[in-house]
Amino acid sequence: MMNIATGNPAAAATAGTAALAQRYYRRFAPVERVMHSALMLTFVGCALSGLPLLYSDKPWAATLARLLGGFESAGIIHRICAFVMIVVFVSHVVLVFARAFAGKGVLSILWGPDSMVPQPQDAIDVWNNFKWFLGRGPQPQFDRWTYWEKFDYWAVFWGMFIIGGSGLLLWFPVFFSMFIPGWMFNIAALVHGEEALLAAGFIFTFHFFNGHVRPAKFPMDVVIFTGRISEHELKGERGVEYARLAREGRLAEKETTPPAEEARWFGWVVGGTALALGIVAIFLIVYSVFK
């Protein structure tokens, strides 16, 4: 019961008696939490409304299309989700630049602990993490963004261009064909489906595992929904960041209130639902690929 109340059983259990007196640090701003939720919901919406086409020859595809109200209505859901997702994406890019200009300058986007750009340390982290997996080294400590989080991030970036771009071509083919040759629509249709398979296959397995459900986080890491990371987790997994913040004297600036009850519940219920739908989608994909 305490697990549910604290929102993170692993953290709560590990911290033991300290659980009730945890310090929390801010990891995600409210706008970032909203964006992740919007991205999550629209992604699941796009995936579920697009899957019937990708596997149109399987009996479940027609059933799913009917559940969504037929292919026209599935198409409308797909486009609404796609539109919102593009809005989220563009807002994010604007936000990144706005923050950079207001703060540490544009270069901070490209370099430093707050940058999402892969850096030499990430390659070292991959190596050390594999060593830890195989029992040949200690668990590496990370700074603010781990290499797999950066991969997730850039996968979305790449995916937005590939799926979003090809999706727009397919949405308005008559308009775009005024400028580009017909074969590009063939490519668009191909990469839209393949990249969608990659994205769904990645998010619904590796991202879920890495970010939310691996044994250390099981059954669900809700930091992205609450925006707050416990001191225990920050020290235990992101020791480099903790040490850096301590060194820079910014720990106090980052310290915040414990996660709000509503945010935790939102993470559990809505995040959990997205997780469940994603797992259903993965089951359907795997079933179709190997049948």
Partner: protein
Amino acid sequence: MKPTIIMRAAGAVLCAALAFAVHAKPNAAAPAAAASPNDTCLMCHSAADAKGPDGRSIAVDGAKFATSVHGSVNLKCTDCHTDASADKIPHADKLKPVNCASCHDKAVKEYGATVHATSRKGGNTVAATCIDCHGKHDILRAKDPASRTSHANVEATCSRCHGDEATMVKGKLPNGNVAGKFHDSIHGKALQGAARGSAPTCTNCHGAHSILAKSNEGSRTHRAQVVATCGTCHEAEREAWTKGMHGKLQQAGMLAAPECADCHSAHSIQQHDKPTFQTAVIDQCGNCHSEYLSTYRDTFHGQVTALGYAQMATCASCHGAHEVLPASNPASKVSKQNRLATCQKCHAKAGPNFASFDPHASRHDKARDPFYYYAAKFMELLLLGVFSFFGVHTVFWLYREVREKFGSGRRDERQ
């Protein structure tokens, strides 16, 4: 009130006496009502439960016979049952089968060549003879709406065997329940509706006394004849097919070239503008054009129709149906000259670039679509790379965390 055996015997005696009286007084004026020699036969055969020595029913409904086509021309029982005679009663226990050919020699001769007759000769004991379709003592002219062979009743008559499970099994009837399929088809439905007078029934396609197996070259349902048979009603479609590639191939001697039934089926024909037919017929095209079906299924058009929605382009939307011609033919709907106009049927404002989309691009055909081919290769490698790396990464990670959390020699974090 049912007649008792005594009443029946009394009646028989009375009739016999009357008959005797008539015969005994040849010079007397013949009484009109009692003149039929059939009455003699009916003395024994009229009772509804009359049975022969072997227990089989020998009942004949005299009134029904009187109104039948044979009764209306005053045929005598002995005209058909030639080895029975009113002079020798009772007749032999077992009479010879009736020979319809003694009058209907032409029809019986035709019947001799039919699939029914040849099957029967081949030992199939359920194959239809004259009486199975026409009845026995109650035969009516086909023109009579009440006849078993009237336009309205043919379907029910054929269904007695071709829609009857036991007969289908016993006679090994081809194609199963064709009567049931036909009943639900567009033709079968039309027969139940306002067009019942003109809609085709079994005999319109198969003939009556000329029903031949479809493998027989003379059959109306032989591959080379089907178009002519359907074309008796569907003239425009026959014309279009004849000018189209499929018709040309058949005329060039390719018997496998599709005829009507290959796309529409024979007995399950559906209305052509129904989504169920429009989406199902795509697979019929694919029976021969499998490569094109597979590439079509990779497109949005093909995916939506595979889900059962016919609002998207099917094969026929672009290629036409009966008039289908290869793209190399300038008259084809998908020829270079006509392609854009074909796209514009749905995409009204489409321009030339739009029409250069390849609706049958193949990820395996480097020569046809080089960009598409390499894009597909790239995506395959990308998927393989990402899933392989993270697959291994995740399995190792899971192994480590399970060891950390539950493994021996570790601190128990759960307390």
